[in-house]
Amino acid sequence: MKKTLSVILAALLALGCVFMLASCGSTGEETTAPADDTTAASEETTVGESDLAYIQNKGKLVVGVTEYKPMDYLDENGEWTGFDAEYARAVAKELGVEVEFIEIEWDNKEFEVESKKIDCVWNGMTITDALKKSMDITDPYVKNAQVVVMPKDKAQDYTTVESLKDLSFAVEVESAGKGVAEENGFNFTELTYQSDAILEVHTGKADACIIDLTMADALTAEGATYENLTKVLSLNEEEYGIGCRKGSDLCTKINEITDKLLADGTLDALAAKYELTLVK
């Protein structure tokens, strides 16, 4: 009795394992016929099939974003808009595909791209050496800087980098802001998002934060959420790029299309609309 029970259980567990593997092997769409599955799988594995062809075959460019004004954010109708969102739509039109925006957890962007859950990260991403190792990044398109933001009433005391040494900073984890904080030997705490970093300053948990110029401008403007804060110093200059899969030909294609959009003035119009400075 016990033996038979054990055998049944072993069989059940084994079945469970097989089922799990099988479900991993399927395309995730339960309705797809098995025959389609195998063709999809072999398409997937065709050695040397270009990433661009893969995207054009499926007919949509899946863009990973976060809510990040003025690059990507939702308008009142719940549609993605912003400089990057409009730019991505323009590029997708040239590629002849549709755009799908997926809001991702920024910490996992490398995983999202590498595992093909998204095709690119297009979200005001500052180009860093570390990112170049995990993704292929397009030519820079918008200029940015890392700026120090702190309460307005304290700002007049801090006009040089030297004067900032004793402050406590908040930065986004592994961000460009963290990089300059390290270079300057500041004391800093790392948080998940830049928005968390500025919140730390707002609530007095940190004396100042180091975030992107574009974001600082948007958030500390007159009438914005953090109008009690202001930017005091710019610590470096840097540029935004679009992150594609390692070895993807999408990267060069976006560069080509970008040249075209620069030539016909599309990007200049967008830059003016969202008050950004293009890299030319």
Partner: protein, 231 residues
């Protein structure tokens, strides 16, 4: 504003509840299977169960979410790069993971089933052997003894630890946001990111608190109902 926030949080909480309910639905029976495996006298099965429980309890649930969701494609990518053309390699290279929600569900079910299995095992092994011997004397088969004598006593004994785990599960669902499943905490954090509104996150806590309050009452009632088992 309050209304907008409430609606958004409710929407997120529906995902939370869905994940909670489906996890329980699958993990409770799966846990029993794993518990039987761990108690089996058939050594390979016993060690298989024990190893699974060790791995799942020994690694963070957040990591398991990432492995379940991104893992298949990443492994597929490595095999694809090898460029070896044979059916097994092609199959491995073509591996595709599940969608976001099913991935979270799969990871949660496996994780919680392992914790449940240890609670079941503790419950089953706490029943005195003498009862089984008595059943044998009465001429019951082993399965009769288990289902008619042992099981309900086990249920009573495991209500408090199960209550613990189930309440933890309600809160653990917030991990789903690591792979961008938009549950209540994700929705609450959006208000911070976009408008610097802090209170929605605290307000989200009230949703958990009220729901867990309900669960606590249910568990207390359940325990009371089973009072007649007092030995």
């Amino acid at each position: 504003m309050f209304w907008t926030v409430t609606l958004s949080l409710l929407e997120g909480f529906m995902t939370t509840l869905e994940l909670f309910a489906l996890t329980l639905l699958f993990a409770i029976p799966l846990g029993l299977i794993i518990a039987f495996g761990s108690m089996s006298k058939f050594m390979p099965l016993k060690w298989l169960s024990k190893t699974v429980v060790w791995i799942i309890r020994g690694t963070p649930l957040m990591l398991q979410l990432i492995v379940v969701f991104y893992g298949p494609e990443l492994i597929g990518g490595w095999f694809g790069e090898l460029g070896i053309d044979n059916p097994i390699f092609n199959w491995l290279a073509g591996m595709k993971g599940l969608d976001r929600f099913p991935s979270v569900l799969l990871a949660f079910v496996i994780n919680y089933a392992c914790y449940f299995s240890e609670i079941y095992r503790g419950g089953i092994e706490s029943i005195p052997k003498g009862q089984l011997e008595a059943c044998q004397v009465l001429g019951m088969t082993k399965s009769q003894a288990f289902f008619r004598v042992v099981l309900l006593q086990v249920v009573k004994r495991i209500v408090p630890p199960m209550g613990n785990e189930i309440i933890t599960l309600v809160k653990d669902t917030s991990l789903a946001r690591t792979i961008a499943v938009y549950e209540i905490i994700w929705n609450a954090q959006k208000f911070i990111k976009n408008g610097g509104l802090l209170w929605p996150l605290i307000y989200a806590g009230a949703f958990y608190l009220i729901f867990n309050g309900l669960l606590t009452i249910i568990f207390a009632k359940l325990e009371k109902k089973m009072d007649y088992f007092k030995a």
